[in-house]
Subunit: 302 residues, 2 copies
Amino acid sequence: VNALGIDIGGTTIAGALVDAGGAILESSARPTTATRPEGIIEAVADLVAELDPEGSAGTVGVAVAAFLDRTRSNVFFSPNISWVDFPLRQALTEALSRPVRIENDANAAGWGEFRFGAGRGAQSLMMLTMGTGVGGALVDEGRLIIGGFGSAGELGHIVIEPGGRPCGCGNRGCLEQYASGTALMRIARDYLEDPGLTPDGLARALEAGDPRAMKAFVEVCDAMGRGIASLVSVTDPDVVVIGGGVAKAGPILATLIQQHFESHYPAGGKRPVAAMRVATLGNTAGVIGAADLARISPTLGP
Amino acid sequence: VNALGIDIGGTTIAGALVDAGGAILESSARPTTATRPEGIIEAVADLVAELDPEGSAGTVGVAVAAFLDRTRSNVFFSPNISWVDFPLRQALTEALSRPVRIENDANAAGWGEFRFGAGRGAQSLMMLTMGTGVGGALVDEGRLIIGGFGSAGELGHIVIEPGGRPCGCGNRGCLEQYASGTALMRIARDYLEDPGLTPDGLARALEAGDPRAMKAFVEVCDAMGRGIASLVSVTDPDVVVIGGGVAKAGPILATLIQQHFESHYPAGGKRPVAAMRVATLGNTAGVIGAADLARISPTLGP
């Protein structure tokens, strides 16, 4: 049966009707109005009405950039939307008049890649997204790991530089300060002495073989490789998937990260090494994962 | 029913007959002869014959300080015993003439604490042992996390000081170089200018309020607190249990670690904070956990 997935991002709310094989049958979007939380609820309702007017898809899967409680009912807080201790599931269930399955956006994307993308077949998957920040997701033996309080997989917040750059989380030296798309642009703008450099501009400089652009890219891959070398000691994944905007760079990204990762791999040479893959679902991973979670575990929570 | 647990350590092989409530009914031990692997197999067989001569306990649970494959059949390698790609399960099954359930020693100890000790009731448990190294175990929703290749929970090998002290794993700056019992003794011997200082001597200096001993202790708690602050972003435990030889220091250990941990907690104040507890089973956690794993999942592996 088809399922409906919604992905509430910082600028766009994406929606899609997804079949049981993970293929998108129909999709649409609305802008995110971050300053007015009710506006987001209304936009989601509007999207759902457009994509599934007859309500045949049942439970709606909703991915959101937020710290959620274990039961996926309440938002502790969201970095982009003014929700604090907000009963999101109840609000959406009422607005949509149907059951809702909420998940953290990086988890939904990781689940999408696990089921239908680069993470297929993994016993233990670690997904990292290199975008505005560094997001993460963990799947172990077919289960999404959500942790004791619901916030497992915040992989961008392991510390790789003690006392380093201040992070939005309140700590210093977090992985996402060195290995996100934002970090890449900051470093590249510095090396290329071009404060107005855009992601497309950087992509062109990389294609043209600009050594300063390459240096910035390698630096970020080194940071990510070192971060992953720490992380594998925790969950020992057999597959690591790299997604997010930076993943548009393609296989070279996985190759460089793998290089730096292997030079810091604990007990290297004595045990199997995780395979590094670039995500294949792009920015549709969230809606695809959310839809699949709604199909598979629609009743999570009280 | 009663179950049999064996814990193969670097110096001692401990064995115990354990009841379904985790209580030890009988126990015994043999010295570890690390240079002759067959000697270890023989000693285990000897212990099993002593503790359960009639074979009524069925499957034997065996904890061992080693990197094990996913199926818990083969040892990739062991830091203390000369096993490399060794079919330990087959060797033990043949020597004991009964089924064997092998587990990594830190995982067995973590499972013991989860079932019968300081970790009871945890949704997501993280156990760290401060001994010769820093061992670790992860339990999530009642399942031991073993990872894609079988070596999850090697928490002592996340990096807390990039480019720092060389570690036996081949990497640099690993948590266990700063937060193990070994690290504590190294730092204390330096501060107290006493190369012959013993763990008991350090315990007495701490009790007497020696400020140099206290400084060493706080330094190690700070390192552990910072390590845990990174680790909670990965699995988001609701309970963290600290075990190993250093845990003999008691509640003050948990208090100090919690202090340093909270000052580095990502998104602190905005979401629930893990409870920090000192292990309660001491060095019997391994045999108790191994026995329980043998009782609960005797058939793991092909």
